[in-house]
Symmetry: C2
Subunit: 203 residues, 2 copies
DNA sequence: GCGTGTGAACTGGTTCACAGCG
DNA sequence: CGCTGTGAACCAGTTCACACGC
């Protein structure tokens, strides 16, 4: 089993490696990666070795090889279908964010409770009313869901996602979602993050 | 010194307590709070006691008293001035999010590199061009900063914030920011969070 | 000799168990 | 007797130190 913080850091590493690959470099050391990510070189090596050894020893990692090695190790070499619910400003900004695709996050459908909004918006993916979440999630074999609705409806959306077979939820709603243990939730409590920062800053 | 995860949870607790206060209840037990937050009752009590004892023993916490106790303990009873840089979709959705104010997060200024955008937008706070970050941050005594710009400019914005005396940064840019150790950074790597979820889900 | 791989020590955060108060 | 407060046990994750391969 791979520790959550490790998965987190490895995901970040992959993103960094992808950027590096574009810049023409071909090899990189854990020390350089440390500089680019803010993690220590120790931690990086250990994280990587959670998935086994990429092979080469002695002189740094082959950038592209490492990226694909990590993707395979994390089982994210294949794109992962994702739906997003809530097409307010936040939802729209996420939909417009073209970086997901590059990372293998394929957003396959958007949902909103307002039929008007669905008709007005034009995005290169299918938009549906919220009551179709379960159905569409199943049909598209979506594995992840993003919740960007007002907090009152967060739980209801989560329930529908779970019913539709969603296995991981990114929650922007400032409320704790009750879901079965087999469903992974990561919360983005933006306001609370700021409060946390405030507390840390005002020692 | 208060552990970061504890500060995090306490911030969430405060938000939950505020909501509870509106609902008319007056007392609550750690077990009930556990149910509402997803933390264990143990953890909640321990977190609270990091700041000392709220007083009453035996039969639950007084909701409002606890909230103010926590705010005082975390030093966030006074509102904290915050600036936001990057007024794209994400930045705008954050500006429009009226929950911050309630939590004592006072957004005092917005910035964008595009003068056009600044003139077009209308928000109830002052908008400035990005080169004024340092100056305005100082003038408004801002303590926190939100970075919602494209990733290329993240570091530059961070530098300006630091120069302006900002002590805590919420970073939505998918790059690691280099800042002095006395500045606290919390990263919201949205795409990477999804990747992490994908990895955790595809065991 | 630089840089990776890995087992062993350490640390800080969480969980537990029980004492103490209403 | 329920629920909080807290010191002690535990554990995961991080840091360290050294062995190994190039």
């Amino acid at each position: 089993m791979i520790p959550t913080p490790t998965a987190n850091r490895l995901a970040h590493l992959i993103a960094v490696l992808d950027r590096l690959a574009l810049s023409g470099e071909s090899k990189i050391s854990s020390a350089k990666l440390a500089d680019l990510t803010g993690f220590t070189a120790h931690t990086i090596r250990k994280d990587i070795n959670c998935l086994g050894s990429p092979g080469e020893n002695g002189s740094g990692y082959e950038i592209e090889a490492l990226a694909t090695f990590l993707r395979k190790g994390l089982n994210i070499a294949q794109p992962i279908n994702t739906i997003i619910v809530g097409l307010g400003r936040l939802g729209q900004s996420l939909l417009a964010y073209r970086n997901f695709e590059k990372q293998g996050i394929k957003i396959v459908a958007g949902f909103d409770s307002s039929l008007n909004k669905i008709e007005q918006l034009s995005f290169p993916i299918a938009l549906h009313p919220s009551y179709e979440i379960e159905e569409v999630a199943k049909a598209t074999k979506a594995e992840l869901g993003i919740i960007a609705v007002p907090s009152e409806s967060g739980q209801k959306v989560a329930d529908r996602m779970v019913a539709g077979g969603i296995k991981g939820i990114l929650n922007f709603t400032p409320t704790f979602l009750k879901v079965p243990g087999c469903v992974n939730v990561r919360n983005f409590y933006v306001a609370e993050e700021l409060l946390t920062l405030a507390a840390l800053v005002r020692v």
